[in-house]
Symmetry: C2
Subunit: 428 residues, 2 copies
């Protein structure tokens, strides 16, 4: 061991990886801790959930991404608590990790707004396991419908409800609509998959609330063209194994996906600083926590309220830029050139894809929808996808899907398939 | 419903699919029953277990493979028993299925020769779930080794034992040797993955016992070149969570893979006909069961002892040819042209791959090893891989792996990773 400053980075997502990369050539030892061995390209996770891509296409081992950074060590472990006084991180494996600088980039999980009893019936989409579970439920629903002689019970299998009209909900709804319309068209003998109904429920006034209203409208029209039933200003009040209650409606459905709320990682509560309602740390202008200029909190774990345009959204560019920023501050401090200019987010824009050839884009002053927005989405996402191999493979998979309307990863894996899913499954 | 004869096919593997395809244009209704929604290209399953390919690359939904066969219906269900008198199949979902012709192509699972207590410690390789479990254990073993300060305990994580020197065992051993040597070379900071030891244990006199002895020798030499410790005439007498007992040795190891024995599907016992020691049906020369010319048993479920060259091996070409044969017999019977010429297996040869540029081939009179055997293997396997999309993707993934020595699907998924695997994990 050297006596060089030790930088501990919690989380190998976009924020953590960029922080680790930004410390290249700096005389520090870096330890990246993540409970998964892989970095996940979360913006494309919905494509795994909807059988377009395989998990391996959008995830890369953190070790191999960082293999050439000789001052970086990767630890497969889970940080459970931070002691900011002793400057130590406690690990699930039992050990502790002392730090000189700490970067907390642990992201967020879904939140059911106090209704955790809904979780087994309405899985969210944050991890590869989540995506495979949703894929399993979606594909199984069609299988059960094919075997169900009673028309009412059959339709309940063919109703898909997505709760939450943000980018994830919109992208899922569009992909499900394409599956029922095109992908499965000829696969069944007793049901017509086009009988499936995809319902997108949003509590607010419009879907994609962080986008300009004109784009929300465009997205809504695109979804409706694809046959998605978009319902805004409708609050979900109940979810169980076979229905959703919302706005006075009871919608019979076995496949319900939660894309509505986030809750930041529980480790943040151990930092001893004020959190917002979603559990995020209210960070200083330099992304540190009050009283501890050596502790940075990034990305979805941070509530950064110092931007002139309002609170920063929970998207990867924010996390990436914060990671690069934290690395620069640490580099300057180590070299005794502390500057601490406040973090400034350079907003390059937002993109949400709805389906084949359909997307909306809000890039600086440009607001557009349709085919060109979709091309922009493909370009940006391929560009940021980690690893040459993945980029090439995903491009080919998309090209094949585009030409043939097929989805290659339509596997039901995990559990035996001789009965409908029950609450017990989800908690397994 | 029509009054056309009903053909029920149990199993969507190579035998079942070929039977279904062979009935194209025949005036029968076909129902294919499988408990998985996908056909699996089992000969390449070891590539999923060793992180070279993703599950989606080697599996396709049975429905989409058969979508254009309008007389074929696919049922996601598990057949639990056959009543040959009533001509009915009982299903796990509760229903029954009446048949005029029955094709049983349910394959085999691994067998621990009466030692089922070894199963949690030494998983076999038959399904996608098996492959992901092995991949998880292999990748986790290196992670645990990286975190283990004690050198003896560390080496136990780096010892990989494969039991069984047939093609699956040989292919797994070669792939693991390449992983430790090339793939992970630069990924770790505290361990050198090349310290890992891959041990292949075979009870018989030589590995690849169905091949000519010269090729067994070639394969052994190739494996040794790759650094695999090949041990023949060594019988495993015990397996537990941290060791293998074999031939007087105690080998400390946490990662043990079972590639030694097969046991045919349990449904065969309900047919009421004699089975061999591995649970396979002793079929007639026309692949039917004694006394029931309407019931066919194919592939790994059948013991076909009527070939002049001895018992047929459990490989896909046998299953495929039997499937095509059964379809022809049914077609002739339906058209009232019963011929029942006995099944004849056309042996096109055998191929086993050992590593990059290394394989052995036994094709009719040609017996060769090395680079050309490896090219033959790639050609044959890509050719038979189901679905255009998969073929192209796999070819690209292999090309990238060949050029970069990387493996793209190195994901640890499934369970939390903050502790070493325990017996409880495997039984979960």
């Amino acid at each position: 061991m050297t006596t060089r400053p030790h930088v501990v980075i919690l989380g190998g997502g976009f924020g953590g990886l960029n922080a680790a990369k930004g410390l290249k050539g700096t005389p520090v030892d870096v330890t990246v801790v993540d409970r998964h061995n892989h970095h996940l390209f979360q913006p494309m996770l919905y494509q795994v959930a909807t059988a377009a891509l395989s998990p391996g296409d959008i995830a890369s081992p953190i070790r191999s991404i960082l293999r050439r950074r000789r001052n970086v060590e990767v630890l497969l472990d889970e940080a459970t608590a931070v002691d900011t006084t002793a400057r130590q991180v406690r690990l699930a494996s039992g050990g502790t990790l002392a730090y000189d600088y700490l970067v907390v980039a642990t992201g967020a999980n879904h939140s059911y707004f106090g209704h955790d009893e809904w979780a087994p019936f309405a899985p969210g989409l944050k991890t590869i396991e989540d995506a495979l579970e949703i894929r399993r439920r979606v594909l199984l629903a069609f299988e059960h419908a094919e075997m169900e002689p009673d028309p009412v019970a059959r339709q309940a299998y063919l109703n898909f409800v997505i709760v939450g009209g943000g980018p994830t909900g919109v992208e899922l709804a569009g992909a499900l609509a394409e599956i029922k319309r095109y992908v499965l068209r000829r696969d069944f003998r007793r049901i017509d998959p086009r009988e499936a109904i995809v319902i997108l429920i949003e509590a607010g006034k419009r879907i994609l609330p962080t986008y300009p209203p004109t784009l929300s409208d465009k997205a809504k029209r695109s979804l409706r063209d694809l046959g998605v039933d978009v319902r805004t200003e409708m609050t979900v009040t109940g979810i169980d194994a076979d229905s959703v209650l919302a706005g006075g409606w009871r919608i019979p459905a076995h496949t319900i996906i939660w894309a509505a709320g986030n809750r930041a990682s529980p480790i943040l509560a151990t930092l001893g600083v004020p959190l917002d309602r979603q559990g995020r740390v209210l960070v200083e202008p330099d992304c540190t926590i009050p009283g501890h200029p050596e502790v940075f909190v990034l990305g979805d774990a941070a509530n950064f309220a110092h931007d002139p345009h309002g609170m920063l959204p929970g998207v990867c560019p924010v996390a990436m830029q914060m990671g690069t920023y934290a690395a620069r501050v640490i580099r300057d401090a180590v070299r005794n050139r502390p500057t601490r200019r406040p973090f400034h987010y350079w907003n390059k824009g937002e993109l949400a894809v709805i389906g084949r050839g359909r997307a909306v884009a809000n890039i600086r002053r440009l607001r557009f929808g349709g085919f060109f927005a979709w091309l922009a989405w493909i370009f940006v996402h391929i560009f940021f996808l980690i690893g040459f191999r993945n980029r090439l493979l995903v491009m080919i998979e998309w090209a094949i899907s585009y030409l043939t309307y097929s989805r290659g990863a339509r596997l039901i894996t995990g559990r035996s398939v001789d009965r409908p899913p029950t609450p017990a499954d989800a908690s397994a």
